[in-house]
């Protein structure tokens, strides 16, 4: 069967490689991690460490650092309709992510390239607390399609990269 790349999904036309703009700010958001979000992250990862559930060396409970995965992805999805797959994840945990603290997150596109006939984009994000302290930094690489770029785009996908913004 001939390979094809999905052309659209319920959120509209899929973003094409040529439309990804280097340096583009994907947006900014204020994000407050709640106790419920931390509970959900622990459940997803089946990791119920006491620091994430009760108390920690920083006093109250803190969030698993990987809770930082979703907000930068949400910012990508607010700008571009990309499903694809996550291929690289750089993460730097500078300070603990505490509940009920407002984080200001900014993300931008920093690179794009083609390798083995597949199209990749790279974006970075940084989160700061209200005092201006950097809490985390991340750099992600995402392949736009599993299928090679030589495949024709047609048809509608069942899934979409644009999801409800929740943990």
């Amino acid at each position: 069967m001939k390979a094809i790349r999905v052309a659209e999904d319920e959120h509209g036309r899929r973003t094409q490689y040529e439309e990804i703009e280097l340096g583009k700010v994907l947006g900014e958001m204020e994000w407050v991690v709640t106790d419920e979000m931390i509970d959900k992250q622990c459940e997803l990862d089946a990791d119920y460490h006491v620091w994430y559930r009760l108390q920690s060396p920083w006093g109250e409970r803190v969030a698993p650092p990987q809770i930082s995965y979703r907000p930068p992805r949400w910012l990508l999805s607010r700008t571009y309709n990309v499903r694809g797959l996550f291929t690289k994840w750089e993460m730097e945990n500078l300070r603990p992510i505490k509940p009920n603290v407002t984080l200001h997150i900014v993300a931008r596109i920093v690179d794009k390239y083609v390798r083995k006939e597949r199209e990749f984009i790279v974006y970075e994000a940084e989160a700061k607390d209200p005092e201006g302290n950097v809490i985390f930094r991340t750099r992600r690489t995402h392949v736009l399609d599993v299928v090679e770029r030589t495949a024709e785009r047609q048809g509608k996908g069942v899934d979409s990269g644009i999801k409800a913004e929740r943990i």
Partner: protein, 140 residues
């Protein structure tokens, strides 16, 4: 107490963390996704539903939290590559070994090679990670 300390040597093996995945692990409400639905996966060119990368990588993060303790939450770094899709029914185990040591303004940082193997022994995620360590107060 963290497993790694300033006394830990290059070659020290990190604790292994494993999980037998099943499709239910990757369901998010009533969403139909490439992680839970055969048709959704096939439309995107995948043979079958694939695990959510961050959920599988979480095995490494748990390993690093246990190894570095505070030095992972505050000062931890990682650089992971998702080499191939993980099936939603795979058995995965996170492994790692201390590969380097450096002094920085923050203290002593240990670097580790980390990876996740599936039941066939394929390295599906691999990369490096590092964290800050403090004085020897535990085995290691």
């Amino acid at each position: 107490m963290p497993i790694l300390t300033t006394d830990s040597k290059v070659g020290h093996e990190l604790p292994q963390v494993a999980c037998q995945y099943k499709l239910e692990h990757f369901k998010r409400g009533d969403e139909t996704t490439i992680h839970t639905n055969v048709e959704a996966a096939k439309r995107e060119g995948l043979a079958a539903p694939v695990a959510t990368g961050p959920q599988v990588a979480a095995l490494i993060f748990r390993q690093l939290r246990d190894s570095f303790g505070i030095g992972w939450i505050e000062g931890g770094r990682c650089d992971l590559t998702f080499r191939r899709p993980v099936s939603v029914t795979d058995f995965c185990v996170a492994k790692g070994v201390v590969s380097g040591r450096a002094e920085s303004s923050d203290g002593i940082r240990l670097t580790c090679d980390v990876w996740i193997e599936n039941q066939a022994g394929d390295k599906v995620i691999l990369g490096t990670a590092s964290g800050l360590v403090s004085g020897a107060t535990s085995s290691g």
